[in-house]
Structure formats: C-alpha cells, structure tokens
C-alpha cells in the first residue's frame, strides 16, 4: 500500500486549489492538507510542499464551476471560514462532486454535503453582518475609516459591495484580527496592511485624527438609536440575538453599553 501523504501549501486559496490539482493528478492517498507554519508531521506519512501555480488553480476553479455555480461558491465560502482542518473536508467534498455525473450540491441527505452547505451559509451570514455593522468614521483628511473583527475572513467577499455603494468617497476597512484591510482610492480597491497603534473602535474618547464634525454625527446617530426605540416593547434578548455582544465595541450606537 502506498503511504498517505500530507500536503503543505502556502495558506492562500489559490494554493489550496493547486494542492487539489496535484492530489487529483497524482492520485495518491491524502492524509491531510496543511498550511506551512502550522504543519504537524504524521508518524507514518510523508510530507510534500506544493507551490502555488495560478494556471492549475484556475483549472480547478473552472472545473468546479462547470459542476454548478453553487458548488464553487460553497467551496470558496467554506474555505474562508478558516475552520481547522477545512482543507481536507473540502478536498473530500470536491472529490464527491466529481465522483459521478449530476449536480451533487443539493444532496442534503449526505452528511458531508450538508455540512459544507451549512458552513458556507454561516460565512454568508457573517458577510451580510459586516455589510451591516461596518461603521465608518471620517478622518481629518477625508477618509472614511472602519475597524472590523469578523468571525470569518470576509473582507474579500464584502469588497464589491462597498466599492459599488461608496463609489465617491475614499474608504478603508481594516480587519484587526487578521491584520489586513481594504483601501478604496476612488479608482480601485487595494489590499493594505497598517501599523495600527490602537484599535479605532467607537470609543467614548474623542481622537484628533477624526474630523471635527464626526463626533457630532455620531451623537446624532446615537440619539436617533434611542429615540426610535419603543420602551413599552423592550426586548433585550431579541436585541442581543440580532446584534451579538461581540460586535458592540465597533458600533457607535452601543458604545455606552460596552
């Protein structure tokens, strides 16, 4: 019997797709797929490092897409969940998609397919949350700046939404957990990394870097948040269910509650 291999890749989505390509091409059994840096050797398996090749990644992408649009979306979204061991699960998922003819993404009685579909859904939910919970603060030099800390790596997914919505203002959305951000310079969106000395959550303390009337608008918004509440219908449980507490520190209307 051939020994199972552990494949190591660079941690990028294209790297992962290249790994899938290699595994399909060489047909050897896989015991795990890991990112470099966090890899752990198995006792009886050998490791092999895979270098990212865009043309191969593209072929895998197109191959999955030819199965269905839902398939490629599920793979990409579930990958961004960053869950431990997701690579191997996705590899098994992709093998299943290719195993027989016919679309398989809708076979919800299959455990693996249901799992990936549910995982993709939670990433989709987080993406939608970030489209809602980003709170821009206007800096002195006119840039709209926001810090976020999403559960999953959703920045690549929300880029298009913000680009087409705020086409006439310069903005930055920075993920403090994953230490990178998006910067829109009125032309295109670029990936940036900043050396942030502090997290610019919506704190009670006023900072000089933000424009003078920024805090006036935050106050107006907080007032509005209070006035629009109907006291005789108060429902803290429902409130916390819709706006989970872990997001509160980035929401200016909740800063007094934090």
């Amino acid at each position: 019997m051939e020994t199972a291999k552990i494949l190591i890749y660079d941690g990028s989505f294209n790297g992962f797709l290249t790994t899938v390509f290699k595994a399909f091409e060489e047909k050897f059994p896989i015991s795990d797929i890991q990112t470099n840096g966090v890899c752990q050797n198995g006792l009886f398996s050998e490791t092999e490092t895979v270098f990212t090749q865009m043309d191969k990644a593209k072929r895998v992408w197109n191959g999955i897409q030819s199965k269905s649009n839902a398939a490629i979306k599920n793979v990409y979204f579930a990958y961004l969940s960053g869950q431990k061991g997701i690579e191997l699960v996705l590899y098994r998922y992709i093998r299943k998609l290719f195993s027989k003819a016919g679309p398989k993404t809708t076979d919800f009685s299959d455990e693996l397919i249901l799992k990936i579909s549910q995982l993709a859904n939670s990433v989709r939910r987080e993406k939608h949350r970030m489209e809602a919970f980003v709170r821009f603060q206007r800096t002195q030099d006119g840039i709209y700046f926001a810090n976020i800390e999403p559960d999953f790596d959703v920045l690549p997914l929300i880029s298009k939404h913000f680009r087409s919505r705020y086409a006439d203002q310069e903005w930055i959305i920075y993920d403090v957990k994953r230490k990178y951000g998006l910067h829109y310079n009125l032309e295109s969106v670029e990936i940036i990394s900043l050396d942030l000395k502090e997290v610019y959550a919506n704190s009670m303390l006023k900072k000089d870097i933000f424009a003078g009337n920024e805090y006036a608008y935050q106050e107006l918004w907080n007032d509005y948040f209070k006035s629009t509440n109907i006291k005789s219908r108060i429902n803290p449980k429902l409130h916390a269910q819709h706006v989970p507490k872990r997001y509160w520190k980035y929401l200016s209307e909740k800063k007094q509650a934090v």
Partner: protein
C-alpha cells in the same frame, strides 16, 4: 446647520415616527450611477436593531409633527399637548447623506404630519426625495409616505424619486375609522394607493416597449394596520389585508399592536399591554398566505374568526384537517409539503432536492432542520416507525405543547406558577 437645533428636532421627530412599523429596504434595484453615492440591491440590510428588537434600516423621521387632524390613535394628533418641530428640507438631506456615508442606514423613510393641506405636505416630501436624487446623486433607498388625499400629479412625481410609497390604513374597518378619525374619509386613503398601483402597472407595460421609461416606485407600496385599538376580530383584519394585497398589489401589509398613546374613552387605556402575541400570529398568517399557498378562508372563517393564542396558525389548521395527514415526505408535492406543521419553505426545498438522491428518513429530516417535535405527528418517511397512532387532534396538541417552549407561553398559560 446648527447642531443643537437639529439634535432637538431629530429627537422629537424620530420619536414621533417610530410607530410606523415598516423598515424594509429590500426589493428595489437602483445601481450606482456615474460614481455617485449608494445603491440599493434586491436584498435589504438591517444596520442595527433597537432595544425593542426591531430592525433599524432606514432613517425614519417625520418632516414635521404639526398636524391639522385629530385622529384618536395618533401621537401627533392636533389636540395632544406635545412639543412640535419641523425640519427644513436641507436638514433632512444633510442628515440622510451623512448617516448613509458612515454606513448607518440604507436610506430614508420620510413621513409627515399634515400641515395646511394634503398637497402642500406631499409636495414638501417629494422635494426632499427630488433633491437627494438629482442634486446629491443619491441612489440609496427612499420610502415616502403618501399623504391621504394627495393629488394624482404629486403621487406620480413621488414615484419617480421614491423606491417605495405607502399609505397607512391604520384602522382595518371602515366603521372603526369613522369612530376614531372622524375627519378622514376612507376614499382619501385608497385614492393614492390606486394611483400608485396604476402607475406601477403602466410602467411595467411601457418598459417592455420603451427601454428608458423612467422607473416608478420599484419596491412597490405597503400599508399598515393598528391591531387591538377597536374591537375587530382576526378575521376582519386578515380579510382586509387580503383585500389590500389583491386589489392594490401591496408588497407588504404590516400589523402594529396598538401602543396606548392617549387617554380616550374610545381606546384601550394607557399602560395596557401591547398585543405582541396577537401581532405575531397575524404575521404568521400573513406568511402562510404569501409564501405557503394558503387561502385565507382555510385559516379564518365564520366558524374560526380568531387565531389560536397557544399554537401557530398552520398547526391549528392541520389539527382541524387531520383527514389530509399523514403526508409521505418522499412522495408529496411541494404544495402539500408546505402545509406540514414544523416544515418551513427552506426545509421544503431541501427535502425536494435531497429526495432525488435517496429516500429520506427521520435522521435526514432532523439534520436538515425540520422541527420534528411538531412534524412527526403529520408525516411518514422511510422508516417503519411513525408516531401517529390514531391520536385525536386534542391529544396531539397536548403532546406538542408539553414538549415545547413558546416565548409567549407565560402570556396564555392557564397553569399557575409556583413562585409568583
């Protein structure tokens, strides 16, 4: 703009507007033009939630709370002794743009008390929307209130700039309206609705021939009814809602539990409880009509004029129609699957997809998210075990209630609590 003055106005006019339930920002499709500001795609976004758990998606304010009418159920009625204020048009525009740029809101919901007359008020509302669209190149969502009695020309213009238009019918029955708002005529409410409906239909047919026909109210129109202010039955409310859905092609009818805001012998006293459970049941019924293929006469009729408080309307319908059950999960068509208690439309779609690959059993259904504690009495699947052993409807109801927890249970439970 003077910050303190605007702040004061915002507090008064947001407080007065909060009784409007609608906050939806979906169903429109405005793309961002010429690098302008904003877009509204099909999906709405709730940017925050108030502490009462209601979504905040739009900046919901009145242009003014001065009003010439004296409707008993309304906070801003003429005879009520409250602080009055009025926004300038530019102030509303600035607030909207600045909130939108910070990603606080999806757009503007602008309503107003009626000052001078209907047309004068409507004209001001339209000019806010016009300014946002034409001067600020704003493509976010705009919901304007149609003022009862406004002229057809103004209603036409309003639809050119707004995504959604709405008139609140407020009192579901004509007799109730006479009692609580004697200066308003029922026709004043329906006239703008009719105009908007006709314009939407006209836009749709012209669009097929001429591509650049100006868009008219792409997110349609909606209305709202107050629940529990006059003694109407659930049947009155839902039949009236069905009428508005079919006659005026409403996108939504909202139900708003009456919150006592006035001492008036015609109304529930201040401090009485908001009928939230009843509101919830009405929404469930509304969903059954719009998405589950139910006919209103199946759920509410002269034998059953009111919805059950302790179980949802679908379960209650099923218990009255036990001869249709059990339904075979692996064979029944979509229409029938949608009628099983404990199975929502999402589960229906999952079942339809999954059963093409293999026959489904209890385990599969559970993993897909079916609420088996209710559904198990009404279905058979690929298993020799099935629950129903000629149980009587009342016995099933008892078992379901015993094995579940409802968030409103304390409101109607007849069992005494030990520690209260």
């Amino acid at each position: 703009m003077s910050f303190e003055r605007v702040r004061e106005k915002l507090n008064i006019l947001a407080d007065a507007a909060k009784y409007d339930v609608s906050c939806s920002s979906s169903g429109s499709n405005r793309t961002n033009k010429n690098k302008g500001l904003g877009n509204s795609t099909g999906m709405g976004i709730c940017h925050s939630y108030a502490e009462d758990g209601r979504c905040i998606s739009l900046l919901k304010i009145l242009l003014t709370n001065h009003c010439i009418f004296d409707c008993a159920y309304c906070v801003t009625r003429k005879s009520n002794d409250i602080q009055r204020a009025a926004f300038k048009i530019q102030e509303v525009v600035d607030l909207t743009i600045n909130f939108y740029r910070r990603n606080y809101i999806e757009g503007l919901f602008l309503s107003s008390g009626i000052f001078k007359d209907a047309d004068y008020t409507m004209e001001r509302l339209v000019s806010v929307a016009k300014k946002l669209r034409l001067e600020e190149n704003f493509n976010g969502y705009i919901h304007l209130k149609s003022i009862p009695g406004a002229s057809d020309e103004l209603m036409y213009e309003a639809g050119l700039y707004a995504d959604r238009l709405s008139v609140n019918i407020e009192i579901p029955t004509v007799s109730g309206l006479k009692l609580l708002a004697p200066d308003k005529k029922h026709e004043d409410f329906t006239k703008p609705m009719k105009k908007v409906k006709e314009e939407i239909l006209r836009y749709r047919s012209e669009k097929k021939l001429i591509k650049n026909t100006p868009v008219y109210a792409p997110a349609g129109q909606s209305t709202q009814m107050i629940i529990g202010a006059t003694g109407e039955s659930d049947k009155d409310i839902m039949y009236s809602a069905t009428h508005y859905y079919s006659t005026y092609r409403m996108k939504r009818v909202y139900y708003s539990g009456y919150i006592p805001v006035a001492e008036d012998s015609r109304l529930p006293v201040i401090g009485s409880q908001v009928p939230m459970l009843r509101e919830n049941r009405l929404y469930q019924t509304d969903w059954l009509l719009r998405f589950y293929g139910f006919d209103i006469r199946e759920i509410l009729n002269k034998d059953y004029p009111n919805l059950d408080a302790d179980i949802d309307p679908k379960l209650s319908w099923a218990l009255r129609n036990m001869h249709l059950f059990p339904i075979d999960i692996n064979k029944a068509d979509k229409r029938l699957l949608a009628r099983i208690p404990g199975i929502g439309m999402q589960s229906v779609n999952r079942i339809l997809n999954a059963r093409r690959y293999r026959r489904l059993n209890w385990e599969h259904l559970k993993k897909m998210g079916v609420a088996l504690n209710r559904a198990k009495y009404f279905i058979t699947c690929d298993s020799r075990h099935w629950q129903q052993k000629d149980l009587e409807p009342m016995a099933i109801k008892g078992l379901i209630l015993q094995n579940s927890q409802g968030k409103f249970r304390k409101n109607y439970s007849s069992q005494l609590s030990l520690f209260n």
